[in-house]
Symmetry: C2
Subunit: 664 residues, 2 copies
């Protein structure tokens, strides 16, 4: 394809999407469409044609879709992705001598110029195309060429009309002369994931806190009773922090104290003891069979289990003895603990990714992932990926997805923006975000524009978490129950992937260390016993929101987000629509958890194709209220104590009288 | 450099400048500095260091410049380019274990932690660096390591102070451990031209119109008398339209009429007759020796001659007989003329760049360029480059510049923006622009921002022409002498490269075909006899402007342009400063050629480092008026009938009393 031929006159550039010259892949899920644009042009005034070429990694032949000009030398084409895995796309353009000839013929003819020679030139072109055609088409083209030649002598008007006929154009379009087509020099990668990569609702839970007895260590068997509850709420991913044996050396006590009492269970992230490491189950949680049974039962309720990939060890991890070369040792012969001076994590030792033996380390960690894949796990929440080399993740994710393209990796990195984006570029399927720290209207809109209206949208799939075991933002600490409702609505409707640190969120737990974002009495260091059925819990609200997400395809993707005007700084108004506008959802949220706010919102009538003044129906799907609106600007009042948000489903067109019945 | 090593933890991206993933070169001239920025970071919290690597194409070893962090993982480095030709640059970053160790040591020490082990770790690092050092440095490092080891037992304060000393850091900086450095995957090209590529004043003249006799065909010998005149005006490039024999078949008459009278000289762009083609001189202009003599004499006055590369032929060109395969033939055996239907150019036949014999055609056209290079020509104005394949120009310019890096190619393309930019990307040194059609304040500022404040600045060097033989804008047609002054000032101060279609501009010739931009009685089709010494000519004004350009380094580059506030829509205010602000030029122009305009302008005191309220001196270099201003906002009044512009040279600092004397 790169053999140099000076007659290739068409050039292609400014391809979009293209991430860092194709160093990194664009992401889509099965069923989505990849729209590609590029500058495509040739020297001179000749007409050109262009095609978008694409193939799955396993295919050797390119498939193609036609491209259309948008003006100013910009072209667009698209194709629908139908299978998981790595794909490639590129572009091709060529001078279209037939189109050029038709265009010039028309101009000359209309200017009254003699076109006898032009008609002969055209017949030649058509005859040459006939040589590439077969069967009916070849016959047709030969006949067209002959007809033009003959009519040119008898009746130029007739010859011209044949030469410019749609019938001729339609056949010629099938046999373009592409021997001098210019091809874009790069084949750009596209990774296609399954739909859950784009649309998922996560519920984080510590299995050890699911015990039936008030003081006991929960087991997977005991967790089973929660499956119908979580399924009913509408989550489809249950995420467990590490389920492996926990070390005893330097085990942390309650609230991250340096010394643990004999009853303290330790942090699940201090992985590994004499009972095993990253491929073992903590005996107190049950057996591997119990774990597999839980995964299977979850699957029966259409939920998947995600486990944590925390690539670090307790000092008691078998690796430390078996592979001392994978760790860093200090001059006095002691092992180097994890630290970020002056902070120390004495219950954890990091791998030394600069070890001479890095290749075996990488292989072993890949084995860990494949071990759990074997056990039925297809979703991994990756702990602190930003403290391991980028090249490692890039390799690991590629290797795992080669055989298992359905595996999803969620990057848990709350770090510098460029590091977070890089992790997404090198392959993470979903990513934690700064959503947790974006609470004002301006912050939320600015951040969401960055995520959905820049190149970031092509490779970074946000997963919005209002809270995690590590972070309880002061907005939730002080905002009370309304704050929990507000942040849940925002997370679940701004981003199609979202999650909550489950029971804690449901019960609006908000006790933190003063001036910090750390839960006091954190579940990371102790076993909790949540009152699962508390009547004042958010469970019904969460259930409603998840149901609305499932019922509205527009909420099942993120990049279709648009913000609209709301004339109150405490109220944010945005919407999502699917491509054919059969599903339109408008959301208005009061960001002030303390006060009722009234506001006027500007409904995007023009976008929706509704004439101002014409009635349209809005169905508020949280309250089941229905309204008929008529104007562009409408008033809403949002009481945080009752319901701080509205989710309107809009009916774009009223075709028949009885459409009103549906609402009334 | 690309051998995979999983321990390379530093990644590099978002390099700027980088044109289309390095497919195209960034441009600079000798003496300029290339500033490069990039995102550079590693996993985790370790400190990193980075270097900018660069080399001339002929060099095999990289030279390097250190990079500094700008915050948010952005780094910057720079180097000065000192020789013409192709260069490459790339980037390297590495985890700096010594810096990381120092940083962590400081944190721990300040937190009161025991640092005995840390000091030992550091001595090891220093000893390892000593192995890479030699002579004094090796001795010093060994001594540092030993001192830390010893003092750690006696006096930790002292050990700490050695470990964090500037002396130690300075030596260690010379021996970084870069075995696991990450290198940017692309080597990015940079083309360095001579200074004239960036700073040039062009004077276009038809040599056939320089005859001494009132009706005769001018010769190169007769042109010689104009050399002192043009040199005095301050131009440094004399550009001749094609100087080759002109065909007689279908020769154009006056005003582009289809039939020429026996006296009509024809268009110089209809190149080639039985007297020769692209390597011949039109006999009426003189001999090759006359031409070479003119070029030599011009050189003695520090002017260069540019000729036109118009790759097209008259039907009488020797190529047509010798290489019929390079042209397109119609079914009736006649040659295909140039046309852009319904327009026809019957005196010109284009090359068929789709010919099977394209390689020989390319070679021959390269021979044409080298032929004139041999005759002393180093500047080519390329006619209609956008009607020949991009790949051809890319190859031709690269080939010619390989042996002659001082050759300058000016792209004469007034076509679609993407085509113009592409021509610059593939190698043209300077480019025609849309300046001719940008006349309002908004249009001018918008266009200049596009050229100087976007990626375009890195590869597209504008050359501003207020008029050409092809284009007389209606602004000049109707604006009278003031319009010519205004457009000249704008061209010459907005862009460091500019040119005028000389005698016609000097004499403010403004006769055009009604409703068109074409000169009536165009010099393209007839011999003119300009009254060279007309007293009302713009000659003195042009001379002053060119002198001011030469005296002010800030005007000798384009991308340093900034627009400032002027509170009148007819007045534009902008400035240029050199990097160290020793030369500051502020320009204010009345764009209305008919009316006097008063206006207040906001002088960028902050940028210039002048405190408001403090007096500063401005020297108006067109009128030689001098002012002491004191405020940010100042009033100017611009009378187009007298002088529609002011060029202020600002003295930034008054250090001594006598500085005032200079102005008073």
């Amino acid at each position: 394809m790169t053999d140099f031929d000076g007659r290739k006159r068409v050039v292609i550039g400014a391809v979009s999407p293209e991430i860092d010259a194709g160093d990194f892949a664009v992401k889509r899920v099965v069923g989505e469409t990849l729209v590609v644009e590029a500058d495509i042009f040739a020297d001179g005034h000749d007409d050109i044609s262009a095609a978008l070429l694409f193939r799955a990694d396993s295919e050797t032949e390119w498939r193609e879709a036609p491209m259309s000009p948008l003006g100013n030398d910009r072209w667009r084409g698209e194709f629908k992705v139908e299978q998981m895995g790595v794909h490639y796309y590129t572009l091709q353009g060529w001078v279209d001598h037939f189109l050029t000839w038709q265009k010039d013929l028309r101009k000359k003819y209309e200017a009254g110029t003699e076109v006898g020679q032009e008609l002969l030139i055209g017949s030649d072109l058509i005859e040459r195309a006939a040589l590439n055609a077969a069967g009916e088409d070849a016959k047709k083209l030969t006949a067209f060429a002959q007809a033009i030649r003959e009519e040119k002598e008898r009746d130029v008007v007739r010859a011209f009309s044949i030469a410019t006929s749609e019938e001729l154009s339609a056949v010629m379009e099938k046999y373009p002369d592409r021997k001098s087509a210019g091809t874009y020099p790069r084949e750009l990668p596209l990774v296609v994931d399954r739909k859950k990569a784009l649309f998922s609702a996560w519920y984080e839970i510590f299995p050890r806190s699911c015990g039936l007895e008030q003081r006991g260590h929960g087991t997977f068997s005991e967790c089973e009773r929660l499956l119908p509850v979580i399924a009913h709420m509408g989550f489809d991913v249950i995420y467990f922090p590490p389920v492996h044996p926990i070390g005893s050396t330097n085990r942390k006590g309650k609230d991250n104290t340096a010394t643990a009492g004999p009853e303290d269970p330790g942090s699940p992230w201090a992985i590994g003891s004499h009972e095993g490491g990253h491929k073992a189950i903590h005996p107190a949680l049950g057996t591997m069979e119990d774990f597999e049974r839980f995964v299977r039962l979850a699957g029966e309720r259409n939920m998947e289990v995600s486990i944590d990939l925390a690539f670090q060890c307790s000092p008691d991890h078998p690796y430390v003895k078996e592979h001392p070369e994978w760790f860093r040792w200090r001059p006095d012969g002691t092992i180097q603990f994890a630290e970020n001076p002056p902070k120390k994590y004495e219950d954890i030792v990091p791998f030394d990714f600069e070890t001479e033996d890095w290749e075996n380390l990488w292989q072993e960690l890949k084995e860990v992932v494949l071990f759990w894949v074997e056990k039925g796990i297809r979703i991994f929440r990756v702990d602190n990926p930003h403290t391991k080399p980028f090249a490692f993740w890039q390799w690991l994710i590629r290797e795992v997805k080669k055989a298992h393209p359905d595996v999803i990796f969620l990057s848990e990195a709350f770090t510098r923006p460029k590091v977070m984006y890089r992790l997404a570029k090198i392959g993470f399927t979903q990513s934690y975000t700064y959503f947790t720290w974006r609470n004002s209207k301006r912050e939320i809109a600015g951040y969401l524009m960055e995520l959905t209206d820049s190149e970031v949208r092509e490779y970074f799939r946000p997963n919005f978490w209002p809270n995690t075991p590590d972070i309880l933002h002061e907005y939730l600490q002080y905002g009370g129950r309304p704050a929990f409702l507000i942040r849940l609505i925002l997370a679940a409707t701004l981003s199609s992937n979202y999650g909550i640190y489950g029971p804690v969120y449901e019960q609006a737990v908000s006790e933190a260390f003063p001036g910090r974002e750390e839960y006091s009495g954190s579940e990371k260091y102790e076993i909790k016993h949540w009152e699962w059925g508390k009547p004042e819990s958010l469970r019904d609200f969460v259930t409603a929101v998840n149901r609305i997400r499932r019922e509205n395809p527009a909420l099942q993707t993120t990049n279709n987000l648009t913000f609209y005007e709301a004339d109150n700084e405490n109220v944010i108004f945005y919407g999502k629509m699917d491509a054919d506008m059969t599903n339109i959802v408008l959301i208005v949220v009061n960001l002030d958890p303390f006060h009722k706010q009234a506001c006027r919102i500007q409904v995007p009538l023009k976008t929706m194709g509704i004439e101002p003044g014409r009635p349209y129906l809005v169905h508020e799907v949280l309250s089941e209220d229905k309204y008929i609106w008529q104007e562009e600007w409408n008033s809403v009042e949002l009481d945080p104590g009752f319901l701080p948000a509205r989710i309107f489903r809009v009916r774009r067109r009223l075709r028949r009288e009885q459409d009103f019945d549906y609402f009334m």
